[in-house]
């Protein structure tokens, strides 16, 4: 299996799906001529032409709306946000149109659209450009939310998202574009939405982590193994629909849970997972579910403060020890 970066894995997924289905097209700021602000769309304009790889003006609400309309008309748009921080401008189209249309039209319209782009923290791009806002989108019925943590997952999940008949929010972690991993170069390789992946098996505590925090959790698990504490690491991969069954099964085995995330704690995905666990597996818990979230402050610009605002390996180790009463 070739070892490629997350960026190239996403590029492969886009290329394969554009080639597979003529109704797929890509639109966003700088996606064509400039080949993407993060080079995810490199080479696509050349290969598929300006009719299918479209540079948009800097009008998130506008081109998101164009996408929803195109989807209603039968196309399968991929709308790239330069970052998900800018998707905030497009939320009316995403939430009021894309998420609701199938329901409000009594099923007459499907909206097979993907909104994708980088999210979460990057390196010193400060408060307005470092936000993990998956909980906003996961909140609304009608949207699916996907967050890959490996190049292979990125490719398999993006292909499934493009083929899905409902709107999918596909959030790539900005810091992870350069992450390398083995990726199948099979055109038919897909990963179903709504299925969690057990990234590491263990018996003493479960770390539920997504996106940026998956590698952190795996590193923490490795360190803890040296101390005789065996951690299971579960990546839900799809935030909505959430594969809670896999998480619950793990909780029943380990009795102790950490939810790790770079997003803010309040009203976050971690809070939701924690609530689900308490409702479904209360009798199996040996300690309260512990969240390790990003700091509850706007992301600081200063490098040292930025580092402190994102959960790291020592924080996860401390949290696991807390729930394992070590």
């Amino acid at each position: 299996m070739p070892v490629i970066t997350m960026r190239d894995a996403l590029n492969d997924a886009l290329r394969e799906e554009l080639a597979r289905d003529e109704s797929v097209f890509l639109m966003g700021e700088e996606v064509a001529e400039y080949q993407g602000a993060y080079k995810v769309t490199r080479g696509l304009l050349e290969e598929f032409g300006a009719k299918r790889i479209i540079d948009s003006p800097i009008t998130e609400l506008g081109f998101a709306g164009l996408g929803v309309g195109a989807a209603m008309a039968g196309l399968r748009p991929i709308i790239e946000f330069m970052t998900f921080n800018f998707s905030i401008l497009a939320t009316d189209q995403i939430i009021n149109s894309a998420a609701k249309m199938r329901y409000m039209s009594g099923g007459q319209f499907k909206i097979p659209i993907v909104f994708r782009g980088p999210g979460g923290s990057a390196y010193q791009v400060s408060s307005q450009h470092s936000q993990a806002i998956e909980s906003w989108y996961a909140y609304f019925p009608g949207l699916k939310v996907v967050m890959p943590s490996t190049p292979a997952d990125a490719k398999g999940l993006l292909k499934s998202a493009i083929r899905d008949d409902d709107p999918v929010i596909f959030i790539e972690q900005e810091r992870m574009y350069g992450m390398k991993g083995e990726v199948p170069d099979d055109n038919d390789f897909t990963i179903p939405l709504g299925v969690a992946d057990i990234k590491r098996e263990g018996t003493d505590a479960t770390i539920v982590a997504r996106s940026l925090l998956v590698p952190t959790a795996l590193k923490a698990a490795e360190e803890l193994e040296k101390e005789g504490i065996s951690c299971e690491v579960i990546d839900p991969r799809t935030i909505r629909p959430l594969d809670i069954e896999t998480i619950i099964k793990s909780v029943m085995k380990t009795n102790r849970v950490i939810v790790a995330e770079e997003s803010h704690p309040f009203c976050g995905i971690g809070a939701e997972i924690s609530a689900e666990i308490h409702e479904r597996a209360f009798d199996y818990l040996d300690a309260p579910v512990k969240r390790v979230s990003g700091a509850d402050v706007p992301m600081p610009y200063a490098k040292n403060l930025e580092q402190l605002a994102i959960p790291d390996v020592p924080q996860l180790i401390a949290a696991v020890k807390e729930v394992a009463y070590v």
């Binding site: 009795n255 209360f282 009798d283 199996y284 818990l285 040996d286 300690a287 009463y325």
Partner: protein
């Protein structure tokens, strides 16, 4: 029939209403559909109509007070109807509230004498669990993680006996697992053996006949003695028999003899020692009937019945309660051999406090022995045999032995003898106890 008037929903978004004005007073007649009160909702002041006819018997929410939707605010009924039940449910439905922002008007004069004064019953204060042991946190509540609680319930572990190692003493999974590993107390209703200080024999000490104290006989004890003698000779005997599992005692004896081949400890020596220890725990049996007193002995001087050509003689092991098994074994051997040679001095075969007679070597399963006065009891030991024993629905092979104790009923009552025998059996079945004394 009396009915409760509840706070009605007078606007689509209303969640609670404030009584602006009662249009009827308690005791006023009310007909159905008649305006009853004015209610301030979140939107406007609305008139509320009576939904039943009768007399406004009780106003529960006074002017200026608020109530959530559905809460009883008044009771309408017949003038002389008993509404105490309705009142009770109405006050129960009312959420315990802080004093209303607007002070309530005092209730208007009660015209219906049957009505009790409305008392805002404070919600019963949660009774804190009594802190029965120091392990509980100050709040008095036992902290247990959910999985620990469930595991304990399933395994029958008493959480009161588990020490929590989590924060604030929370009992966690690990603690219950530890508790589950600990051996369960042996099943059965037997009284628990308590650890007993077992003094050791002083090196070189020579023990004469045991010291004793005489206690005046109670009137009751005297009467019991008098009546029983008339029934059954001078010493009214009764008999208690029990079967004892001897596997552990036999093992122990064998192990001791492996370690100290010279010790030559016999099962009978073990029985002597166990009986002596049990006697110290049950001084009422280590006693004798005197004319006006009951004599209680400090030590257990055990008479051991030895058959000789000329008949039975019982050399005495003095203070067997404080002597080691090995000492007892050698003493018994020495005394028995001299007994056979008729070389025992009188003080060596007189004045025991309790006797043991063993016919097990003759294959006797069980028998009754005759008490050697003035002792209060004698233990008759049958043969140790292997036999099938039903245990938890399975048949197991165990070494068993039947013993019968003859008791002097003037001193030892049935229950007292039984308790002694129970202790004797427990120790003999778990002879490690002999080595646990402090």
């Amino acid at each position: 029939m009396a009915t409760q008037v509840v706070m009605p929903k007078l606007s689509p978004t209303m969640e609670e209403g404030q009584v602006a004005r009662w249009l009827k007073k308690e005791g006023d007649k009310v007909s159905m559909g008649e305006p009853l009160a004015e209610i301030d909702t979140d939107k406007a002041t609305m008139e509320m109509q009576a939904l039943s006819a009768g007399v406004l018997r009780k106003v529960l929410i006074h002017e200026g007070e608020s109530a959530p939707l559905g809460q009883p605010i008044a009771i309408i009924g017949e003038p002389d109807e008993d509404i105490s039940e309705l009142l009770k449910t109405a006050t129960a439905a009312a959420p315990a509230k802080e004093a209303a922002p607007t002070p309530a008007k005092p209730p208007e004069s009660d015209k219906a004498p049957a009505i009790e004064k409305p008392t805002a019953e404070p919600a019963p204060a949660p009774t804190p669990e009594p802190s029965t042991d120091g392990r509980r946190p100050a709040g008095g509540r036992m902290l247990v993680s959910p999985i620990a609680a469930r595991m304990a319930a399933e395994a029958g572990v008493d959480l009161n006996s588990v020490q929590g190692s989590g924060p604030a003493g929370r009992i966690i999974k690990r603690d219950v697992e530890e508790a589950m590993k600990a051996p369960k107390p042996a099943a059965g209703t037997g009284a628990k053996l308590r650890p007993l200080a077992m003094p050791k024999a002083q090196p070189g000490a020579v023990y004469g006949p045991s010291a004793y104290r005489d206690e005046p006989m109670s009137e009751m004890r005297r009467t019991i003695a008098r009546r029983l003698v008339t029934s059954l000779g001078p010493i009214p005997h009764f008999f208690l028999t029990t079967e004892i599992e001897m596997d552990r005692a036999a093992d122990m004896r064998q192990q001791i003899n492996t370690l100290y081949p010279d010790a030559k400890v016999s099962i009978n020596d073990v029985i002597i020692k166990v009986a002596a220890v049990a006697l110290i725990q049950h001084p009422q049996v280590n006693a004798s009937f005197q004319d006006k007193t009951v004599r209680y002995y400090e030590h257990a001087d055990i008479g051991v019945a030895v058959a000789t050509e000329n008949g039975l003689i019982t050399p005495v092991i003095r203070a067997a309660d404080v002597k080691s098994l090995i000492d007892i074994a050698s003493e018994v051997r020495e005394l028995a051999s001299r007994a056979r040679e008729r070389k025992l001095k009188p003080e060596e075969y007189m004045g025991a406090t309790f006797s043991i007679s063993n016919l097990g070597m003759f294959g006797i399963d069980e028998f009754t022995a005759v008490i050697n006065p003035p002792e209060a009891a004698i233990l008759a030991i049958g043969a140790m045999v292997e036999k099938p024993v039903a245990r938890n629905g399975e048949i197991e092979i165990h070494k068993t032995m039947r013993v019968t104790m003859s008791c002097d009923h003037r001193v030892v009552d049935g229950a007292v003898g039984a308790q002694f025998l129970q202790t004797f059996k427990q120790i003999l079945e778990n002879p490690l106890y002999l080595f646990l004394g402090s």
